[in-house]
Symmetry: C2
Subunit: 247 residues, 2 copies
């Protein structure tokens, strides 16, 4: 084996290690350099059979390197990403689908965490149900929804809240989605985290829609949240790649 060839193989081995550890930037540099050396050493190989096998090997590394390049570029995009949506009082057109749908087709999205202290009142549990419906409808492989909320303080309320959330849990189970509900006393932050790394912070949490004109009356916007006027709130969207976690 030529010296060059073994150096190339060494680099590729390192690249695969980085690749497995999801250190894509390092993996890409090693693949690139390794492939470069292997192509050089290809010239020295006389045996036709060996040349073909060697070329196939190189092209499979090239393919993987290209895929990694996409991941690296994407990751750099995420690092820069911060979007803010300012919803004005009484504006319409901000259903959960409008906010979230672009993030939901991602095949790496298998769970969603919802931190929202106010999933208590009737309309709030229905908001959460609508949010779950959207996840069931638009995600590909979602397996789990984790809700962190606070207990309803009224003794009767506690039972109702838990009972309602249990109904949602049972219904999700039939769709092979597990709902885990956790209660926290001190929780105040509203944040929705997708396992794909996206973080959506809605100032008011899920409860930013005004009630229909009357709960009794049939009116436009009764069913479709895209037609329901909103309270003013700000939505911040970013990716965990863009976040420095400090204590």
């Amino acid at each position: 084996m030529a010296g060059n060839e073994s150096a190339g193989i060494h680099l590729i081995k390192k690249a695969v290690e980085f690749d497995n550890d999801k250190k894509y930037e390092e993996a890409f540099v090693h693949y690139k350099e390794g492939i470069h050396i292997l192509i050089e050493s290809l010239k020295a190989i006389q045996d036709e059979k060996k040349r073909v096998a060697f070329r196939d090997k190189i092209s499979s590394y090239m393919e993987r390197a290209e895929k990694i390049k996409v991941l690296v570029d994407q990751s750099k995009e995420y690092e820069k990403y911060h979007e803010q949506i300012n919803i004005e009082e009484n504006s319409i057109g901000y259903s959960y689908e409008k906010i979230f749908s672009r993030f939901l087709k991602d095949e790496s999205l298998d769970y969603v965490e919802v931190n929202d202290p106010y999933i208590k009142a009737r309309h709030q549990t229905h908001n959460f149900l609508r949010f779950c419906e959207m996840l069931v409808k638009l995600t590909k492989i979602i397996k789990r929804i984790i809700l962190l909320t606070t207990r309803d303080e009224d003794t009767n309320g506690i039972n109702q809240q838990e009972a309602k959330l249990n109904e949602i849990r049972e219904s999700l189970q039939k769709r092979n989605v597990e709902l885990t509900v956790k209660f926290s006393e001190g929780l105040h932050d509203r944040e929705i985290r997708l396992s794909s790394g996206w973080i959506v912070k809605i100032g008011r949490g899920l409860d930013y829609f005004k009630p229909p004109e009357s709960r009794e009356k049939l009116c436009i916007g009764f069913h479709d949240l895209d037609l329901r006027p909103c309270y003013s709130t700000t939505i911040d969207i970013f990716h965990q790649k863009s976040t420095k976690f400090s204590k």
Copy 2:
């Protein structure tokens, strides 16, 4: 004026008449022939100024002829069009939006007629409300919805039905859409006609969704009809261009 030129102008005049009467196929033939003759006679014109003006005129006819060609082709497509959607018992994914949305962006769609004898019970008026919400959300210039249904036979029921439909009417009014409700005794046909010419016949009318597992319980499909199991029914879609109206 050369003999040819006046023959060309005569043809164009006929074309414009047909065009105004929306007889596009005849209009197109006349435009085409007229333009052909005018281009021929252009050669004989010496005066540069007259040539330019004449050429401009011809090119405006050509532009109109091209637009008409699109209408003629579209119309021929409509004549062939017949689609049938068979919804199987318990299948999901058939919200009104899934069925109708492709027809709703048409800028010529300014009213919709709904013939459905069963807009009576609570869930049926809510079905109709959801249908109206979709029209408000997805159409561009809709001005009017006409509902033809039958009166609820129960004396108390009549009031409730009219009161509910009035609520929808008032709410639509705020969006500048007029709802006209007509009652018919003999009505049995379920048919939705769009002013753009599309006709959608749903075997069961708007009422083809199963109720949520329990009206009390929060379950997936409670809000989103795309997630609600359906009764089996057949939907036929065609265009009035494809319909021979016989008595």
